[in-house]
Symmetry: C2
Amino acid sequence: MDRILETIRDIKPIDTRLMEETQNRLDSLTKPRGSLGRLEDFAKRVVGITRKVNPKIDKKVIFTMAGDHGVSDEGVSAFPKEVTHQMVYNFLRGGAGINVLARHVGARVVVVDMGVAQDLEPHPGLLIKKVGYGTRNMAKGEAMSKEDAIQSIIRGIEVFEQEMEHEGIDIIALGDMGIANTTPSSAIVAVITDSRVEDVTSRGSGIGDEQLMKKILVIKRALEINRPDPKDPIDVLQKVGGYEIGGLVGCTLAAARNSVPVVIDGFITTAASLIATCLAPLVKDYLFASHNSAEIGHRVALHYMGLKPMFDFGLRLGEGTGAALGISIIEAGCKILTEMASFNEADVSRAN
Amino acid sequence: MDRILETIRDIKPIDTRLMEETQNRLDSLTKPRGSLGRLEDFAKRVVGITRKVNPKIDKKVIFTMAGDHGVSDEGVSAFPKEVTHQMVYNFLRGGAGINVLARHVGARVVVVDMGVAQDLEPHPGLLIKKVGYGTRNMAKGEAMSKEDAIQSIIRGIEVFEQEMEHEGIDIIALGDMGIANTTPSSAIVAVITDSRVEDVTSRGSGIGDEQLMKKILVIKRALEINRPDPKDPIDVLQKVGGYEIGGLVGCTLAAARNSVPVVIDGFITTAASLIATCLAPLVKDYLFASHNSAEIGHRVALHYMGLKPMFDFGLRLGEGTGAALGISIIEAGCKILTEMASFNEADVSRAN
């Protein structure tokens, strides 16, 4: 736990004075004032986070964390459980959606086994940080022990710090893989935002009406049996969370501590961000919401954190796919700041 | 006029049978069915447009067309008229917003002088297709002659065909530069969509309340004096349009004729698309709306054409800046189609 507390303690508020200076610089560039809208905001916030007046978004890392979920035994997903490890191998071979979009935006995918139910073959692109072989069925008891919840966060911190030290990181995106993991995510969002389960639960990878009703009942049962404490985010993670979700929490805390912007993907990574911001409210200013997914609870969680997504393409794949596109948009904003000519440099007349 | 009619006549409907086949292929890839939402739609439509089952978005061209407007004499813009040619030089030196974002997405900017009020120095990146030295003041009479309206469209067609022949083109984005050109754009959108001028007119590059009131009155006067015929898009272009708008119309028609997707930028390029779709309704299926701009009439025009923008960042710069980002998103969709592994290839189990 000390490692987590230490990480949280070192997170600084973002630098608002530098952000004001950045707005002045943006206003000196050859465009009507404020005419690049949110692109300007993204650039400004990256400056505030990184404390670099000319931030470069070169080293882009997508952490796609995988874990299995005991609750998949309840039949809450359209896909069988073995898809989690099958997809991990697909990531490592470069054939998944996240690989395609990561290449498109020039990012590196770091795949992390946080708690896949199988032992995975070693691979240079895979970090094994397994806390357990899948969580227990939260509909029948706690998803994991308190110690494992803490461990999952600590290993997430380690993953970030390790990559930061060896390769350097300018920005990260969060991604997830875990059959049934919209179920714990709905549970987390319901508890923390004090929402009805029905209002934050939808079809995940594509279940029908009957299965959706069942999924809602399963989540309600999990909350009744476990009674997670909304004021204690680690208790929520332990009782109705997942190992990959814990890893993403750790990764987010470590990024904030290291002044690195974090791009959130869909519902699962947003549930992780929610836990991270409950643990350390300053984290919120380090987060960029890339998209609004098809999962109905996503909007609720983003709204709770005061985050406005960049786009809404009806994505519901996870893996970090939407966040990959978000990285590229933030990078575009930073390039506006660092590459555009000013009115003086270009000898262009200003507004009357 | 023959050149225009010939171009329109050769525009084919997009290939919906190929699009259905493409959806089947998308459904075989390692992701829940439909889980990449609009990215899948973008890929599918590019296939339908290009008739290539594995479309590559390599050769990306942004046509940024410039022209001056006599109506700027009425004080409808925050910027002085000379900014049009000053910004053209800024484009050619690579210092403008569009240059930065074009580089970011790997696109080439082709700057076209359709009707700048000054003679411009020759430059390898500049095409001189000048129809006139700025339009006449539409608040006092027709913005241009019928012959010049037709000429501007023809020159737009020529610009596209020339680039297509010499360099090849996989996708284009439309961009504009012309001080005061939201004024003719509002006039065009008001006439064609049968909207009140107040509902399609806002602050352009950033005018205040009083100037906005004046702008609205100027547009109303222009419509009263000229009485453009809503059923005759060339009449609308002639009476209340602009040379760069005509050029963009031609460029759009030529792209559709050559089975090339067109990404629209902000309000001005959307007004041009509106004229193009009135001339040739099939064009609509070739268009991708990148963003919803801060100009209130933009939404009206997009809605009229049935186009849904990809994002809303409050952009109001023009030049093709939003469309540049749109290119990258469409490219991402195409890569999903062409680069992702199928369930069979990756040995991943399908949904139950």
